[in-house]
């Protein structure tokens, strides 16, 4: 379980970094989203990965750490807003600079 989780985060991050270095706005935004997913999973796993453990409800001795879940929720909301903004800005850049290169130059 831990190994699979770690590999998944690693895969998402490496794909994200690869796309981030593409220097075209669309892959860059997708790359940022993938990195965002990886970060959210990572934050989530910081409350330790347990199986079949309830949330903080009732009177169980073991329960899943609720704080990372709250952090992840916050991070998801913020990440969503930022991605939306980055997308709109990329479209604006495409219209304004007539190019989807992140430096606003190069071939079409």
């Amino acid at each position: 379980m831990e190994l699979m989780f770690a590999l998944l985060i690693g895969l998402l991050t490496s794909c994200g970094v690869f796309l981030l270095l593409r220097a075209r706005t669309f892959p860059v935004v997708v790359g940022l989203t993938l990195i965002g997913y990886a970060v959210n999973l990572f934050l989530f796993s910081m409350g330790r990965i347990d199986e079949a453990v309830p949330a903080v409800l009732g009177e169980h001795i073991d329960y899943a750490d609720p704080l990372p879940q709250a952090l992840v929720l916050t991070a998801i909301v913020i990440g969503f807003a930022m991605t939306a903004f980055a997308l709109v800005l990329s479209l604006r850049a495409q219209g304004e600079l007539d190019s989807d290169h992140v430096d606003g130059k190069g071939d079409r």
């Binding site: 990195i35 970060v39 959210n40 910081m46 916050t74 807003a81 930022m82 991605t83 800005l89 304004e96």
Partner: protein, 503 residues
């Protein structure tokens, strides 16, 4: 419990939200925004006086730390609030003469940006710091693009993408710290880092260094500063002036995290970044100076002067003695206000010279009131370069004397003085081109605006005032530096009963 500490955050939040909903005239919005921003100044002064008596801790919703989120006002936070309030008021005073009408929602965005900045200075919780960072960033994205143009969109895209990556790194660092230490309250983190087992220390150290990358990106430290000159020089004048505090938010975070969480009590992790900061600070200084020589516009030149001032302050942080920190804080006050004034002044100059010449460093039309404009530029330039008798001189003198006589001084003296000389050359070249060389063209320019000049003069006035009141200011800053270097005070303030409560 007094509710005073949360007011600097609540005020801009409520005013910003109301401004967003109101359908009133522009003048009405301007008035509301200006009053709300002005109120920050007495608030900050009040908090400053309270914080001089003892650190204030405000538990949100009365949830006690470490479970709830706390706001902590110590001497450093209060000082940063005051710097922000004065700068923001002058920037807004400038903006209401027309720069705010170039796009929509300038005033709500300005308030939200203010909320993010004050929140970042006040919070005592690492994740909350992240949230406030995001608030100030997302409003800064929109402000940067305000009244857009292709240069702004291009610089804005870099700025947004870089900061999004930075946020991801911030979250990874925060997650690692929480995973190992089980808390995100800064005071609690500081306690637990001290009790860390040997095998967990490298992991926490890695998270700490990751935080340095994030803060370094915001502060514009050497390998991470390339976004700054472009973004700042393409922003409109009041926005660029407000952004003068943004690099200081990163600097504040570095100060806070590495004196508190990784402070004295942190065993092997104590002061772990100082050795890294020292060469980076000197590189930032040198490259800022070279960049200012190469700048083709006045706004670009001032943007590189921001990088230069960041390098100077980082050098003080890296030395890390109480004297060096005092010098850094003094230089921080001075450089924030004066670079803000310079950004506003270049905005004035752009309007007077007309759109064809704008801030480009080429001979332009004859200026109205050449003595007044030239005199103001001269004063600001002398102040930022660090010529006596203005405030930059005191800041640099304190920093140099804090370096002592050893190998630190051998590195610091030539770099600081050399970069000062380069900045002086760059500024004198800019000044002679702008004010003495003229071409025979009829300017299609606006007349000089009195209110805009007032905003510039108010900020510039800080420089002589800092010299005249250097004694009380330095006393306060010395106490601030001592407080920073004794993190136990901060911890005791957040956990007044920590010794009794812990099992």
């Amino acid at each position: 419990m007094s509710h005073l500490p949360i007011l600097p955050v609540l005020l801009p939040m409520i005013v910003g939200a109301v401004l967003l909903l109101l359908r009133g005239s522009m003048d009405f919005k301007r008035g509301v925004g200006l009053i709300a921003t002005f109120l920050q100044i007495p608030l900050a002064i009040l908090l400053l006086l309270r914080a001089s008596e003892g650190t204030l801790v405000y538990a949100l919703g009365n949830w006690m730390p470490p479970f709830g989120i706390v706001l902590v006002v110590d001497r450093l936070s209060a000082l940063m609030l005051l710097i922000t309030a004065v700068l923001a008021f002058c920037a807004l005073l400038y903006a209401i003469r027309g720069d705010d009408a170039a796009g929509r929602n300038f005033h709500p965005l300005f308030q939200f940006q203010l909320m993010g900045i004050t929140g970042a200075f006040l919070t005592g919780d690492l994740f909350n710091l992240f949230v406030f960072f995001e608030i100030l960033l997302i409003s800064s994205y929109a402000l940067l693009l305000h009244g857009a143009g292709s240069a702004r969109v291009r610089a804005g895209l870099h700025y947004v993408l870089l900061n999004l990556t930075g946020s991801a790194l911030f979250l990874i660092a925060v997650g690692t710290l929480y995973g190992v230490l089980g808390t995100l309250n800064m005071a609690d983190l500081a306690v637990r880092v001290g009790q860390l087992s040997a095998e967990d220390q490298p992991l926490v150290g890695a998270a700490g260094m990751l935080l340095l990358v994030v803060f370094g990106l915001k502060t514009a430290i050497f390998p991470l500063y390339f976004w700054l000159p472009r973004a700042y020089s393409s922003a409109s004048a009041p926005v660029a002036a407000l952004f003068a505090i943004m690099t200081k938010v990163g600097l504040y975070s570095i100060l806070r995290v590495y004196t508190l969480i990784f402070g004295e009590q942190a065993n092997t992790l104590a002061h772990m970044v100082n050795d890294w900061l020292w060469p980076l600070a000197l590189m930032t200084l040198a490259l800022g100076a070279i960049g200012s020589l190469a700048a083709a516009t006045l706004t670009g030149l001032v943007a590189y002067l921001v990088v230069l001032s960041v390098g100077t302050m980082l050098a003080g942080l890296a030395i890390g003695t109480p004297e060096a920190l005092r010098a850094t804080l003094f230089y921080l006050m001075h450089s924030t206000w004066i670079t803000g004034a310079l950004f506003l002044f270049s905005g004035v100059l752009q309007r007077v010279r007309g759109p064809r010449f704008a801030a480009r460093l080429v001979a332009g039309p004859a200026l109205p009131y050449p003595m007044l404009l030239g005199g103001i530029f001269f004063l600001a330039a002398m102040s930022i370069v660090g010529m006596p008798p203005l405030s930059g001189f005191i800041g640099k003198l304190l920093l140099l004397s804090a370096a002592g006589m050893g190998h630190l001084a051998a590195w610091l003296y030539p770099v600081v003085l050399g970069s000062g000389l380069l900045a002086l050359i760059a500024l004198s070249r800019a000044g002679t081109t702008l004010f003495w060389r003229q071409t025979e063209v009829s300017a299609s320019a606006e007349p000089l605006d009195a209110l805009r000049m007032t905003a510039v003069l108010l900020l510039l006035l800080a420089s002589p005032l800092l010299v005249v009141f250097a004694e009380p200011v330095l006393t306060y800053l010395a106490a601030t530096a001592d407080q920073l270097l004794q993190p136990q005070n901060y911890i005791d303030a957040v956990f007044p009963t920590a010794t009794e409560a812990s099992p």
